[in-house]
Symmetry: C2
């Protein structure tokens, strides 16, 4: 197909596609004339992934290039590839460790060990979780990590099994990475919203239907 | 206690406390001299709540004033009070409804109805969830709302029961509101992080321990 059809079918503006071509995020089409090139299904798929990484994952263009390089390395195992993807969409690094940090990190470590979970593949998420426990303690909830945290782990496990089954059903490496980005980022927002809905429902059941 | 001790025990800077006093977020202390006032436990509790609303909930000072007014209205039922709190820490409003929106809203509505959940108390969260479903469909995941969403609802319910039990155990109205803000906002971050940890663990189990 021509670049105009690629734009139409992907829903991405022509100028944006040309920008992705210049930045090397999209491989060049097959030359069919002095000023024309032909694009195929692999361009459509790549465009979709680039858009997911930029618009949904919030990645800068340079980082998108790194993720695509990992997608295109046939020797990189899928598990390592997903580590690159998850690391790239993680938040900012945590503050420097201190005594409070060490206490919180020990709680997280104990919870993971008890479940036989490997902590190596997700250092960023473990740091984020540790920083939440530090903040909870500072704000007056020092026991949250032992009272509530296990329930979060149980439920997250159920959700993750569903997420991963869904993402892996997507097909090839590129489709799986696209699914991981979209389902991770939008899934966060969905889960936060559903948790609020459930908070309201549970409170309603406990407190009864009272006048506003 | 004097204002200097209030600052020491709350960990909040003297200048910040004086600012809260000027803005009416903290009631004045009991006058004990021409230039002195005495503060008590209720000031400590109020300071803690104000800090949770501003630092954790990200609320502007004007909105903090509205939430405190609701806390201080003895005739407002706790359930309605929590609605004011959750509404104040919700995100921006969703885009205008269209056909895609209506389809997504119907999926959310069906899921809630099937569970016998009341949709009135959480309009903001339902709008956020609907906007996620719209975005999922636009990005190529039109079935997410029927395949994955029910699992999210199941797990969110388990988490919410634990959250609400924890928040309601906090004591009086003010303590409960503090707990709701802290546990809602920090809980989002914690849950997102744990979901990533669980993603890595489930992928590891499915794909095996492969070289990096």
């Amino acid at each position: 197909m021509r670049i105009s059809e690629l734009s139409e079918r992907s829903g991405i503006a022509l100028a944006t596609i040309k920008y992705y071509l210049r930045e090397g995020l999209l491989p060049p089409g097959e030359r069919t004339g002095p000023n024309q090139a032909s694009y195929g299904g692999e361009h459509l798929r790549r465009l979709r992934l680039v858009r997911a990484l930029i618009e949904v994952g919030g990645l800068p263009v340079a980082t998108v290039g790194e993720v695509l390089a990992a997608v295109d390395s046939p020797d990189l195992p899928l598990f390592s590839l997903l580590g690159v993807v998850q690391g790239s969409i993680a938040g900012p690094p945590p503050p420097a460790p201190d005594a409070e940090w060490d206490r919180a990190a020990a709680v997280v470590h104990a919870e993971m060990t008890r479940r036989g979970w490997d902590s190596k593949p997700s250092p960023e998420a473990i740091d984020t979780l540790t920083s939440v426990l530090v903040r909870m303690a500072q704000l007056g909830y020092p026991d949250w990590g032992t009272t509530v945290l296990p329930t979060y782990f149980d439920s997250a496990r159920v959700i993750a099994e569903r997420d991963v089954a869904d993402a892996f059903a997507a097909g090839g490496r590129e489709d799986i990475v696209d699914a991981v980005v979209v389902l991770t980022v939008l899934g966060d927002t969905a889960l936060a919203a559903i948790r609020r809905i459930a908070h309201a429902q549970v409170s309603l059941e406990l407190l009864g239907d009272q006048p506003a």
